[in-house]
């Protein structure tokens, strides 16, 4: 009888699988990615390496000497102390963070606008107390600008009614408001000493969300050439909530990670963060193999650093408030080893 190896599902639950079952899941995850995103499958030696990682009986897994990458830690800090500036120092000193990020607990540029002077003061104070690069981050979060929370008509209500053109105009109106807010926050944070801006989960509300982000990235690059810009995606596929929006002649809806990278690079970002969501019912091996196959073309082509999102529910890390160490370390190592990432 084949030995059963402890491993995890995407929700973090512990399961036991045989080596053959793990190998089958690796191939299945890659096959799904290749079929949906038209990417090349992983090579045999890459599958073999993933198999070694996911069938190891060790509780922890790590990259080889010299293969360490930069950890940018978007959303640095746990907010458990109630001391946002001190959280940055804690992550710097206690968590080995290579870069940290100040943020507001309502992680949205629209919400930040209402408390911007206080957030900017925190940035100034935090810069005096930290050595590692310190960014400011939030979500573009376009949906905040739709009624009843925002000024634009609600496209999620219009679309089911077949009022497509009205829904498109509403998203364009909302995108204008979002661009304005993101640029004001960027301007203020840069004046307070920020090393960079992070636009986290860009595209979460679809192609208009991403377009607003790219336009702001371009403006930041033009006005402040030495300021860092990180764009972290919301998902592996850009949703076409609008469907007709383009950036520099390229349609945003339906973009997979490689085309996302090209758009983000063209806009002038200095770090790209691809995101691949976890299927909670599939194994850690399936999820990580799928993520690797989807992002492999990105790191092969990129001219800017690629920091893959590897938090709860993305990049193979289980969807859990406390992702297990065995699973997280395996996903962390697998992504770095297979993708030759620049960071996480």
């Amino acid at each position: 009888m084949a030995q059963r190896i402890p491993t995890r599902l995407g929700d973090g639950s512990l399961v036991e699988m045989t080596r053959a079952e793990v190998e089958a899941d690796l191939h299945a995850g890659v096959e799904v990615a290749a079929r949906r995103a038209k990417v090349a499958p992983l090579a045999d030696d890459e599958i073999a390496h993933l198999l070694d990682i996911f069938t190891s009986p060790a509780r922890f897994s790590a990259v080889d000497y010299g293969d360490e990458v930069v950890l940018s830690f978007d959303g640095a800090g746990n907010a458990d102390t109630g001391l946002p500036v001190m959280e940055q120092v804690l992550y710097q000193n206690h968590h080995g963070a290579d870069m940290v990020e100040l943020w507001h607990h309502d992680y949205s540029y629209k919400a930040v606008r209402t408390v911007l002077s206080f957030q900017a003061q925190m940035m100034k104070d935090a810069q005096l107390q930290t050595v590692v690069p310190l960014n400011y981050g939030a979500m573009p979060d376009l949906g905040r600008y739709s009624q009843p929370d925002g000024p634009a008509p609600n496209w999620s209500e219009l679309l089911p009614l077949g009022r497509i053109e009205e829904a498109r105009r509403a998203q364009e109106e909302a995108a204008g408001h979002l661009e304005h807010d993101m640029l004001v926050v960027a301007e203020t944070m840069i004046a307070a000493g920020a090393d960079g801006l992070d636009f986290d989960t860009a595209g979460a509300a679809g192609d208009a969300d991403l377009l607003a982000t790219l336009r702001v990235v371009r403006q930041i690059r033009d006005r402040w050439p030495d300021i860092g810009v990180e764009v972290g995606q919301a998902a592996e596929l850009v949703l076409g909530m609008h469907g007709e929006l383009e950036f520099e002649g390229r349609r945003l809806a339906g973009m997979w990670p490689l085309d996302q990278l090209r758009a983000v690079t063209a806009a002038g970002a200095t770090i790209f963060g691809p995101a691949v969501n976890v299927n909670t019912t599939k194994s850690l091996a399936w999820n990580t193999a799928r993520a690797c196959a989807l992002v492999k073309p990105v790191t092969a082509e990129s001219t800017i650093p690629v920091h893959m999102n590897a938090g709860m529910g993305v990049g193979g890390v289980p969807m859990s408030p406390y992702p297990p160490v065995d699973a997280t370390s395996r996903a962390s190592r697998a992504l770095v080893d297979i993708l030759k990432l620049d960071g996480l």
Binding site: L71, N93, V132
Partner: protein
């Protein structure tokens, strides 16, 4: 999760040269190997040294790049935080925004 990533694949932050390599990435958009090589060249060490806490503890002292206070070690006579970032900007030959703001506000030219 943060600690797990740090142990599994991270450079080590201020205990090593992780923050210095990160600064070349975020400011100059350098990919990892290029950023590591740039930092190693500026510090006159090997790329492997950059992730080594023992090597970097001394190098950070020599270049005034800031070190983390731990239980039995304090550095009151060494550059800390914003002071260290002045040295980082000079050592890596890269502008640091908070340093430029500090100079402007302090009237340092």
């Amino acid at each position: 999760m943060a600690s797990t990533h740090a142990l599994a694949s991270g450079m080590g932050g201020m205990r090593t040269a992780g923050d210095l390599v990160a600064r070349m990435q975020i400011t100059r958009g350098m990919r990892l190997q290029q950023a590591k090589q740039h930092v190693a060249d500026r510090l006159g060490c090997s790329v492997l040294d950059l992730s080594d806490t023992i090597a970097m503890h001394d190098l950070r002292r020599d270049f005034g790049l800031g070190r983390i206070q731990v239980q039995d070690l304090t550095y009151p006579d060494e550059p800390g935080a914003i002071e260290a970032k002045f040295h980082i900007a000079e050592t890596l030959d890269v502008p640091v925004n908070s340093v430029e703001c500090f100079k402007r506000h302090a009237g340092l030219g």
